[in-house]
């Protein structure tokens, strides 16, 4: 690997690791508050919240989950995937270097700038941004005075621009590869290709939405209006955000699907089963991902016809998803399997993806979404896919990538132990969330204890918190194991 690319990749991965560590710490604070509402947090609490005897203050709680979501999506998973594409892609398409490595270097600078702006926003006058990672107006505009929200907008815009630049490089690296045999293009490369395509299509929409929010905040417009300033419509922002927001799930998961397919095939020492069908399934998901976002708005008063349409399109995504899982099983069927680290992570990722993907079905149905929308069930569902499956998939890719970076990966025993502890921990955190949601627990509540009907569910919050501690410890243990044997 070229030393310049290696440096860029290592730094981007380190930034992503920093983001992930911050996001994980924040999630532990959230979990503590949800299982022991208002109780002081040992060790960290007095440092973070000295005025509240170490307990999470109610006003800080939304800021904590806003930062958690923002950091995890825009400054952990996204840069990690960008770096992994830089490391893995050139050899997959028979190139020495990516087409435009300078784009990835610029992306690193933008990711770093974005993260710095985001953290600066925490110290802004009138407090940190506290409107959730979706930044819905007017909560994020008229009702969020101070520089914190503006810095948040700029930070996310930096991450979006960085991702866009990296994606252009991915597209150019694949499409411009000399003598590229499309029929034999590995599924990992297809995953990066489709993800980059979605980025190129939908990130400009996010950037546009952020620009409009900025305009409402600073240029005196009322595009996403408040009732006192009629003119625009807050719901328009929801459409703009989710047109990007839903494909984002597939932007993050498509490279993982590709990597899992290839890792399982390699461990089984045979080509991935149904290669063409899997590419077609990836293409179908890419196409559908842009047409299903309306399920995020099923309870926002869509016309019944539109809601039924979005429901049907959303359910259709289960078809290519079923095809992926069937192809993984087919690849292993009759094979002789010697799972390396990447395959172990991949197997764990498949288990969590099956559960995470299927729990999307009750959310897609208009009638059941009436009960489940904005509940803890939603949080459990998307974390099974976007946190658990992604984390395991990223480790599958990382274990291969470390070799190319000239770094030693932890042993296969460590990898296996880590993969299955992570899977177990993730199930322990997110399955209780599904249960809480079925019990009617809304998400984003600082103190669920305030509601009588939620009292019987408190034990599930505690199970999730204990499992979160296990999940966190497993990551820490991997990091220590890797650090001690890295050279």
């Amino acid at each position: 690997m070229h030393p310049d690319d290696r440096r860029t990749a290592l730094r981007t991965l380190s930034l992503a690791g920093l983001g992930a560590a911050l996001g994980a710490l924040l999630s532990l604070l959230l979990r503590w508050q949800l299982s022991l509402p208002g109780r002081p947090i040992p060790l960290l609490g007095p440092l973070l919240f000295p005025d509240h005897h170490g307990a999470v203050p109610a006003a800080s709680y939304p800021a904590l989950f806003t930062l958690h979501g923002t950091v995890m999506i825009f400054f952990a998973v996204t840069p990690a995937l960008s770096a992994l594409a830089l490391i893995r892609l050139p050899p997959l398409v028979g190139r020495e270097r990516p087409a435009h490595p300078a784009l990835h270097r610029a992306a690193l600078g933008l990711f770093a700038l974005g993260l710095a702006l985001l953290l600066a926003g925490l110290h802004a006058r009138f407090g940190a941004p506290a409107f959730g990672w979706t930044a819905s107006p007017p909560l994020s505009t008229a009702r969020s005075p101070g520089a914190g929200a503006t810095l948040w907008l700029c930070a996310v815009a930096c991450s979006a621009l960085a991702t866009l630049l990296g994606s252009f490089d991915v597209l150019a690296t694949i499409v411009g590869a000399p003598k590229l045999a499309w029929a034999r293009l590995p599924l990992s490369a297809w995953g990066h290709l489709f993800a980059a395509t979605l980025n190129a299509l939908f990130l400009p929409i996010l950037l546009g939405a952020l620009a409009l929010l900025f305009s409402d905040r600073h240029l005196g417009t009322a595009l996403f209006t408040t009732p006192s300033r009629p003119g625009g419509d807050a719901l328009v922002y929801q459409h703009l955000f989710w047109i990007f927001g839903h494909p984002e799930v597939y932007i993050l998961i498509l490279p993982v699907w590709g990597a899992v397919s290839d890792a399982l095939a390699r461990a089984a020492d045979r080509p991935p089963a149904l290669h063409r069908a899997v590419v077609a399934a990836m293409a179908a998901v890419t196409l559908l991902s842009g047409l299903v976002y309306g399920h995020h708005l099923l309870t926002a008063g869509l016309s019944p016809l539109l809601a039924q349409g979005f429901m049907t399109l959303t359910l259709l995504i289960s078809l290519p998803s079923a095809a992926f899982v069937a192809s993984w099983i087919a690849t292993l069927h009759g094979a002789s399997l010697r799972p390396d680290a990447a395959a172990s992570y991949s197997l764990a990722a498949v288990v969590l993806f099956v559960l995470g993907g299927l729990t999307g079905i009750p959310l897609a149905l208009v009638s059941t979404d009436r009960f489940l929308h904005d509940s803890a069930f939603v949080v459990g569902h998307f974390h099974l896919v976007m946190a658990a499956t992604l984390l395991l998939g990223l480790f599958a890719m990382l274990h291969e990538a470390l070799g190319r970076l000239g770094l030693r990966a932890p042993s296969i025993t460590v990898a296996r132990l880590h993969a299955w502890t992570t899977a177990l921990g993730a199930l322990g955190v997110f399955v209780p969330m599904l249960r809480l949601g079925l019990g009617g627990a809304p998400r984003r509540l600082y103190d669920p204890d305030l509601y009588r009907y939620l009292h019987p569910l408190l034990a599930w919050q505690r199970v999730a918190t204990v499992a979160a501690a296990l999940l966190f410890t497993a990551q820490l243990a991997w990091l220590i194991a890797w650090w001690r044997g890295r050279r």
Binding site: A58, S136, T225, P227, L315, L332, S336, F371, R444, Y451
Partner: protein, 234 residues
């Protein structure tokens, strides 16, 4: 699921049970198939047994998996359509709900059944409903987006500022429950709750006439009716 106080919530609950059951069954099917295939493949690797040739049935299995999902999707979509609640009956009790950071204001039209008149009755964070009669809610927001969520009445409506959200349900059992805000609306979002009571018809009538009398006395004393009403939608 929490207890259901509504007449139609069982349709949502039934579909939820079916979809969760199917989800669990499909997950079990996939995971058992995966575990079996992995187990056999590991055994083969350990015993150095020759690999089986890729079975020709693989493509068929894939087709079947996709077909199974297609059938399940269509069935669930059709059931969801059947469980849809449709428009409220014309004799429904109408209540206007004005959401704001961080409280719920409920407005009953009073004896004249017209909103915005002197006999309107308003309450704060206190919604009382008669058992057995359909209740139609129109929800508006005064500031940011809020979400009206009545878990035990299986009802929900997200209110975006500048728009009117609508929902309806029929309380079937007397009891006390809670209304939660389900859309993040700021620092005290978690405190934006209201008490909900489903009363017998006598209790409800007594409560309502008490409030109406109060309202009439205030109007007679020249007090303006509470602001914030709107013309009920079509």
């Amino acid at each position: 699921m929490p207890p259901d106080l509504s007449a139609d919530g069982h349709r949502i609950d039934a579909l939820l049970r079916v979809s969760i059951g199917l989800t669990a069954a499909l997950a079990a099917a996939f995971l058992i198939a995966l575990a079996w295939v992995v187990h056999r493949a590991r055994q083969r690797a350990r015993s150095a047994a020759p690999e089986a040739a890729a079975p020709p049935a693989v493509a068929v299995a894939l087709g079947v998996a996709v077909l199974v999902f297609a059938v399940i999707d269509l069935t669930l979509a059709a059931r969801s359509h059947r469980a849809a609640i449709g428009p409220p009956p014309p004799d429904a009790l109408r209540v206007e709900v004005l959401a704001q950071q961080w409280a719920w204001r409920f407005r009953y039209a009073g004896p004249d059944e017209v909103f915005g008149t002197a006999d309107d009755v308003t309450t704060l964070n206190d919604l009382r409903l008669p058992v057995g009669r359909a209740v139609a809610l129109e929800v508006r927001s005064l500031d940011v987006a809020h979400g009206l969520f009545l878990p035990l009445l299986r009802s929900r409506a997200d209110a975006y500022p500048g728009r009117t959200a609508r929902t309806w349900f029929r309380p079937a059992r007397e009891g006390r429950t809670e209304l939660a805000c389900s859309v993040l609306c700021g620092a005290a979002h978690y405190q934006m709750r209201a008490e909900v009571a489903v009363l017998s018809n006598e209790q409800y009538t007594r409560w309502m006439s008490g409030l109406s009398d109060d309202q009439r006395r205030r109007a007679a004393a020249g007090e303006a009716p509470p602001a914030g009403a709107w013309a009920w939608g079509p």
